[in-house]
Symmetry: C2
Subunit: 425 residues, 2 copies
């Protein structure tokens, strides 16, 4: 394919006219397609249906130690669930709390507690301090940004690179005592699919922070979510943080939302001894305990980490089809020098950068042709992409044929928007 | 039985010596019994075992409208669960949010939001105000008190009477703009088993409050928990509050923790339109949604409110046995003028007042004989019973024979402690 920037004006005009004709023919079909939703489709959910068929009455409702999980008790999760998550994620079971169905809720609750009570390293509740700031790696996860926005933090944008956040910038910002933390999706990051390099993890764990109660919100949502033969390796941030005595800095989150069922999975928070003690102290006032039967249901369904990994192979195969369709469609843009996109080994998203800064125009063209994209800017703090470049592609939810069609229209509109830019200069 | 206060010194000494001999013989048996735990025993839990046996895969994981509940979505609960709770409790389904397994968590989260963001009627987040206070009706529920204690409220104790809180005192305190709310268990109150009278409900709904964002935390935990033929009637507080334009004052909570399973039930919050909108606005940042499969599981298990009430009859019959054993044992204290206790038609507890103020001594004697009581003072703010009178008896958990034995020792120690007081004056 020819570099668009080397087209003559005439070539560009002719090309645009061709693309527009195609676009209009798609438009006339009255389509209704959706590339916006980072959720599994029903085929992927069916893989976990066995989970919902288990009869959890009688013996299965008891822990190995004989505790009756139908009843009140066990604040921090059943031991067998702690061990399963510990084995899967390389975490010490003693430093894990197994909770309800939402890791987002655990993150939100952790920051709400910090606001009202402070952390175990705070001199004062955060709500007593003024002008607090938070580092957001962008493009990133809109729901993370929204939490800290609602809590009144000033959001500081740091660029996501292939090896993780721009660490020079993170280290510079973290020196400010008003900067209280950073959101991280360290593996198969939402939406770029990148994994933080060892150096990035080391620098995050060891960097100097102005705030003694700085927190890294380590949302390892895609820890076991490679969908092909290759898998990224993520360094153990706790081990690195401990080396520098910074173990309280890390709050680690994960869930089975994209392992079993997003509506009915199990979520965890893992942290240092001090943090876990502090969390339990307040959590024990918030609740008598989470749904232990659902924790045991997951343990019974999987029984071993080998079975979890077998399950993830099945799920990965289903998801890989979607990524292959999307990447195959995007390859028509190769060499045009108008877009860049990520080719992750795992996770849930492809991040598409529209080089000339016309993401909003692509979104509009797509919308007019009946294809919903994730809202432009959603991957940036305050919903504003300063360069109007980034689009988050979520390939998992549509049917294969719908996905292929939507991606075809996507590449068409990307080309159209680029030519519009080129022709207008 | 003879009034202890009319015993001669000799009679009292002889009686004490008899009781002590009996007590020592119990003590020598090395018992380990527990009257402290407000939780169902396994026989009561077995009644709900059908809930855990339902195969929730395929069609059952969808709402009537066809929404796939295995997936993300539906923040405020599945419609059929809203309708079931609405019918059961006489609430408008549109004003209900169906959430996770814990109503305590919903209460805690509501107050955390008030601290950080304020309510829909607040001018400022509560954490920005100083010297805030909260009304605690005592004897009451320790976990309620603990929440507001942790949040830094000064706890104001108001006496529980047979018709609910001492309303003269509540009305007086509520005039203070620093007083932000009150905890209420309006029906079969924990631990007295009393139900608020119509007048009490009306006065709570209509009283003048100094704080415009005053909140009644209406924990209707035992709404359908009559265990015999008689049932108390509780006035609809929303209807009363609306009459005075005070509908935002009430946050109503309930759960199936003591209907199905305390570990794996479903909880709700009900409130005015303004409150519901405000809750959803923040809850939508906290979570993508609660466990909808467990909501549907409850709907599938019960199908109708008639079935819920049949279920509660079964459960009530099992619980009535425990209350009968306890009340039968306590009747030995009739006429002695050393103790008073409640005889509720429903709920979970019996409240025993030791007239001479030696609850701590009873606790100690019981402990030394191997019987655990709820910690003395637990039913009061800060865990301190100013008159050292109240003991909360939780009869549901022990086996019948254990319960009978524990109650026998209880009445023995109540008599001993009374005689000790009488003999020491």
């Amino acid at each position: 394919m020819k570099n668009y920037h080397k087209l003559s004006r005439k070539e560009a005009e002719e090309l645009y006219s061709d693309l527009l004709a195609k676009y209009n023919s798609y438009k006339s079909r009255g389509l209704s397609l959706d590339l916006s939703r980072g959720k599994p489709n029903s085929d992927q959910l069916d893989i976990s249906d066995g989970l919902l068929s288990i009869d959890m009455s009688r013996e299965l409702s008891k822990t190995l130690e004989g505790f009756d999980c139908r009843n009140y008790g066990i604040l921090d999760g059943v031991p067998e669930a702690k061990h399963l998550f510990g084995d899967l994620l390389g975490l010490n079971p003693d430093n894990i709390i197994v909770a309800g169905n939402s890791s987002l809720q655990l993150m939100y609750d952790a920051l709400m507690r910090a606001m009202v009570f402070g952390t175990c390293d705070s001199k004062t509740p955060w709500c007593r301090e003024n002008g607090l700031k938070w580092i957001c790696v962008a493009p990133g996860y809109d729901r993370h940004f929204k939490i800290t926005e609602d809590l009144g933090f000033e959001l500081l944008t740091v660029k996501m690179t292939e090896s993780g956040p721009d660490m020079d910038e993170v280290e510079r910002l973290a020196l400010d005592p008003k900067v209280k933390g950073i959101w991280c999706v360290p593996k198969y990051s939402n939406p770029t699919g990148n994994t933080y390099s060892d150096e990035t993890v080391r620098r995050l764990a060891s960097m100097k922070c102005g705030a003694h109660d700085f927190r890294i919100m380590w949302d390892n949502a895609y820890a076991i979510h490679a969908f092909g033969d290759k898998d990224d390796e993520l360094l153990d941030i706790f081990a690195e943080a401990e080396k520098c005595g910074n173990q309280n800095r890390v709050l680690y989150f994960a869930s089975t939302s994209k392992v079993t069922l997003p509506g009915s999975g199990v979520a965890i928070v893992a942290a240092s001894d001090d943090n876990i003690a502090e969390i339990k102290r307040h959590m024990g006032t918030q609740t008598i305990g989470y749904d232990k039967i659902n924790q045991l249901r997951h343990v019974e369904y999987f029984k071993s980490i080998e079975n979890v990994m077998k399950h993830m192979k099945k799920l990965g195969a289903a998801i890989k089809v979607k990524f292959d369709i999307t990447l195959n469609a995007l390859s028509i843009l190769d060499g045009l020098e108008i877009a860049k996109w990520t080719k992750p080994y795992g996770g849930y998203f492809i991040s598409l950068d529209i080089t000339l800064g016309s993401a909003a125009r692509v979104y509009e063209l797509m919308k007019n042709a009946g294809v919903t994209l994730t809202k432009v800017g959603a991957t940036y703090p305050y919903g504003k992409d300063p360069e109007d470049k980034n689009l988050r592609i979520a390939p998992t939810y549509p049917k294969d044929t719908d996905l292929a069609l939507a991606c075809e229209i996507l590449t068409l509109t990307v080309r159209m928007s680029a030519l519009e830019k080129i022709l207008s200069t």
